[in-house]
């Protein structure tokens, strides 16, 4: 049911944009007003969330060490997995963010008769995630050609690389296929893998369906539904948006507005959802702290004033026993009262 709702929600968004943009005057709403609003929500919301996170301190160094820490000279230090310096932390974070290193470690366990538990390397999730994220990233970067005038040469190189196989006309981009495939794989995984199905929420299905539909409408626009899709017009609007002088020249096809509206929906949804993991990963204390907590004191800004049960109180309670047992004491026993 949770995934059905996601489809319904996205279909509703498609209808709103498809029909709404055809009403005279509305292209300005869908082409200009909503994109501005969405980008403001995205930027403002993301900054707000990061600031909210940053406002809470990191009271304790809770790094997760995934390898040998820095210790004696003859013990080989694993600099990436138990970083001791800022540079080592940066390297650890870089590999985490760029290569999804923790996911690369993934294993799958099975329980057999005996009982016998086995663990085997399982890289599917890592692979799916990599396909999805890198396709998405390259597509976003490629879209910069719409906003930049003149178009930087490197975007051309990127497009050339992306369309290297020269299939179809216009040339199919690998990343277009990659993004669609990534969404389908990640979505199917949620349905098929029993653990993941059990934990999945609508919050997990919806973004996948939304991004899939964004990719799909983009592909339809580029390769199939080309009526009223004049790239010069679209570029004019896009450049207008970034230079704060948006104009919509001639009529642009509904498919463009659907595509754009879904992107706006994604941008506006972003800061309020799990998609914020793109920023959160940088702030995760188990990964971004040095494992030098015994060498250098970590400060807790709210360190409460708490004293131990005092030695004096302890000795007062047990002094007789201590003296009897020959354990040194700070205060000798009071002379017995019946000494007189």
């Amino acid at each position: 049911m949770k995934y059905a709702f996601s489809f319904l929600a996205v279909i509703a968004l498609v209808l709103i944009a498809g029909l709404g943009s055809q009403i005279p005057g509305m292209p300005y709403l869908f082409g200009v007003a909503l994109p501005y609003l969405a980008i403001m929500i995205f930027l403002g919301g993301s900054v707000y969330r990061v600031v909210q996170w940053a406002k809470s301190p990191v009271p304790f160094p809770i790094q997760t060490t995934c390898g040998q820490g820095k210790s004696l000279d003859f013990i080989k230090h694993n600099k990436l997995e138990a970083p001791d310096t800022t540079a080592e932390v940066v390297a650890r974070m870089f590999l985490e963010v760029v290569t999804f290193r923790s996911l690369f470690r993934n294993t799958k366990s099975e329980i057999y008769d005996g009982p016998q538990i086995t663990y085997e390397s399982s890289k599917w999730l890592w692979l799916f995630a990599l396909i999805f994220h890198y396709s998405f990233l390259l597509i976003v970067v490629r879209h910069m050609r719409l906003f930049l005038d003149p178009i930087p040469a490197w975007i051309g190189w990127l497009e050339y690389g992306d369309g290297l196989f020269q299939v179809g006309a216009p040339t199919w981009y690998m990343t277009d296929i990659g993004l669609l495939l990534g969404c389908v794989l990640l979505f199917s995984r949620r349905l098929i893998t029993r653990h993941v199905r059990f934990i999945s929420l609508m919050n997990d299905y919806f973004p996948l369906v939304l991004i899939f539909t964004i990719a799909l409408t983009g592909i339809l626009m580029r390769y199939f539904l080309r009526t009223d899709i004049d790239i010069v017009n679209i570029k004019q609007l896009a450049v207008g948006l970034v230079t704060f002088s948006p104009t919509i020249g001639v009529k642009i096809g509904a498919i463009f507005y659907i595509h754009l509206f879904l992107v706006c929906a994604l941008l506006a949804y972003f800061p309020f959802s799990k998609l914020m993991h793109f920023a959160g990963v940088f702030l995760s204390p188990t990964r971004n702290l040095k494992n030098n907590s015994r060498a250098k004191r970590h400060i807790n800004p709210w360190n409460p004033e708490i004293k131990p049960h005092s030695y004096a109180g302890y000795e007062d309670e047990f002094r007789e026993f201590m003296v009897d047992a020959g354990i040194p004491v700070e205060k000798e026993l009071a002379p017995a009262k019946d000494a007189e």
Binding site: W53, S56, P57, V58, F60, P61, I62, Q63, T64, T65, C66, Q68, G69, S71, L72, F74, S102, L103, R105, T107, S109, P115, Q116, I117, Y119, L125, A129, R194, H195, V196, F198, I199, S200, M202, N203, D204, S273, K274, M276, H277, V281, S284, P285, T286, N292, S293, R294, K296, R297, H298, N300, W302, P304, K307, P308, H309, Y314, M322, A325, P328
Partner: protein
């Protein structure tokens, strides 16, 4: 409540209807209530222990009372729901980890089958992601826009008594071992979530006795066992006698001695019960051999810290004794014995909570002159670091054949591996003193499996749970037992020494459990020794 027979449990973990073995629950998880019955929960804390802790300055343990998880009414205080939500708000403001971990999970499921509780029980709510969702659902409901607007559709739910009961059930089916955090792409650490859940539960008087009683003992008598100073001394002296009768060398010891160079602190279990006793005898023999100028303390006679399993205030209060005692005695630095969670506190919390230890000196081995730069600020050295350094400098003479009765393997305890990165020091030591092999690679080092009974869950009333959650560890031991005739599971953790013993007795009765220092002392050739054939090392009965 009796523990099922081995054959029965062996079948149950494989075939039982559970998510781990294939069954997909048909109900949404929010619609499955928890049911408490004998054997699936640890006994609640006794009222007098809670009241005692509450009376201590700096601690807050309200609502002491007699209650049972099996009762419908948990006698929660007036306005308990507001107390919980306010407590959650406070913690979100105090711990960035909590905020990030609440917000960033994408439910990718990488953590799901990494948890020993999930593997052993198959209970879907024991998947780390689900454990966090138990809290996250309430967080969404009261602290996020999407949750407020969309409610259940966005995975939000209201805080209710049945949610609270679920928190109690599953925050005490997590040993804060952090294995899941190794695999999480955002480093989400379920230990943080469990710690917060437990802190919140204490705000309304919900806690377990196996944790709060040792914590209150430790506060009052200095150790979990509640050993008073003279008894603690007696216990160590018995061990001195034993070392003497076995080796002919009588270790020289002292208690609460001012002016000693080093204060030595180890978990009190080491001087109290087998097989930890042999590890303690190992310390005594080792320190005697190198002529270490050190003292024991009866006031700070506990390395462990059950505050870590309770709340950060209790952790701080109990831990503060170490520096207080080091300062009072005027030692130069502290050496800590073999213990897992103790070392998590020492490595990641102690200096922050109770430092700076500017009255101590940067640790230098008096025997080798090695400066322990990695402990420059905390001024506390791990016994394995200290011993490995002695071996490297050739200060110890070993006869490995004295351990010929042992074929060992090594269990990384969760905390020393994943919260410290202490992995190769114990291995370096083992290489010099015993014939040993590694367990399979997905079960050691940073991927090590918990003994299944950490964080104060080593209590007998939940033995079946413990045998289930310890299964992944036991299974890896079984593998090396069958393949390499391993008969000894060595470790550097006092809780392990107790809990793995029960675990081995159940799953692999031919495998014993020992501390690394026991193996060191077994093989150690002492100056002036007068020792006979010790077929079982320090365990030999004369």
């Amino acid at each position: 409540m009796a523990v099922p027979k081995l054959e029965q449990l062996s079948k149950s973990v494989v075939q039982g209807p559970s998510l781990a073995t294939g069954a997909i629950p048909t109900m949404d998880w929010m619609d499955i209530p928890v049911v408490f019955k004998p054997g699936n929960y640890a006994y609640p804390a006794k009222a007098d222990k809670v009241a005692y802790l509450n009376s201590q300055p700096g601690l807050y343990f309200p609502n002491s009372r007699e209650w049972s998880p099996e009762d419908e009414d948990w006698k929660l205080p007036e306005g308990w729901k507001e107390i919980i939500l306010k407590g959650l708000k406070e913690r979100l403001d105090k711990f960035r980890s909590l905020k990030i971990f609440m917000d960033c999970c994408v439910r990718c499921g990488a953590c799901a089958d990494k948890c020993h509780f999930f593997l052993g029980t198959g209970d879907p709510k024991n998947m780390p992601v689900m454990r966090a969702e138990l809290l996250r659902s309430v967080y969404r409901n009261d602290f996020t826009l999407a949750g407020r607007i969309l409610g259940k559709m966005a995975g939000a739910r209201e805080m209710t008594a049945s949610v609270l009961k679920e928190w109690f059930m599953y925050s005490y089916q997590c040993t804060e071992c952090r294995r899941c955090s190794v695999f999480c792409p955002y480093g989400i650490d379920t230990a943080e979530v469990t710690m917060m859940l437990r802190e919140l539960l204490h705000l309304v008087g919900v806690g377990i006795n196996w944790i709060l009683e040792p914590a209150s003992n430790s506060n009052r008598t200095g150790n979990h066992m509640g050993l008073q100073p003279h008894t603690f001394k007696d216990n160590v002296e018995f061990l001195v006698d034993d070392v003497e009768s076995l080796t002919g060398v009588r270790p020289n010891i002292s208690f609460n001695r001012k002016g000693a160079e080093i204060l030595f602190i180890t978990p009190s279990a080491d001087v109290f019960a087998e097989p930890g006793l042999y590890t303690a005898m190992g310390y005594l023999a080792l320190f005697e051999e190198i002529g270490l100028d050190y003292t024991w303390s009866t006031y700070a006679s506990e390395g462990g810290n059950f505050g870590l399993f309770t709340n950060n205030e209790t952790m701080k209060k109990l831990n503060a004794k170490m520096y207080a005692e080091a300062k009072r005695l005027g030692v130069k630095y502290i050496i800590g014995g073999e213990c897992g969670h103790m070392w998590r506190v020492l490595h990641q919390y102690m200096d922050t909570m109770n430092g700076p230890a500017d009255f101590l000196e940067k640790p230098v081995s008096p025997i080798t002159g090695t400066v322990f730069e990695n402990a420059a600020s905390t001024k506390m050295v791990h016994i394995s670091e200290f011993t490995a350094d002695l071996i490297k400098h050739g200060k110890l003479k070993f006869d490995k054949s004295r351990n010929s009765h042992v074929k060992a393997t090594y269990h990384d305890s969760c905390n020393t591996a994943r919260a410290m990165g202490l992995m190769d020091e114990p291995r370096y030591i083992l290489d010099h003193v015993v014939d040993w092999v590694e367990m399979p690679e997905n079960t050691i080092r940073e991927q090590t499996f918990c003994c299944g009974s950490g964080t104060g869950l080593n209590t007998d009333e939940i033995m079946e749970l413990r045998m289930r959650s310890g299964l992944p560890r036991a299974n890896a031991v079984k593998y090396v037992h069958e393949k390499h005739d391993v008969n000894m599971l060595s470790c550097v953790c006092a809780i392990d020494r107790a809990t793995l013993t029960s675990l081995m007795n159940y799953w692999n009765p031919e495998v014993g459990v020992c501390g690394v220092t026991e193996l060191v002392a077994n093989a150690l050739v002492l100056k002036n020794e007068n020792r006979g054939e010790l077929d079982e090392g320090l365990r030999t009965l004369l």
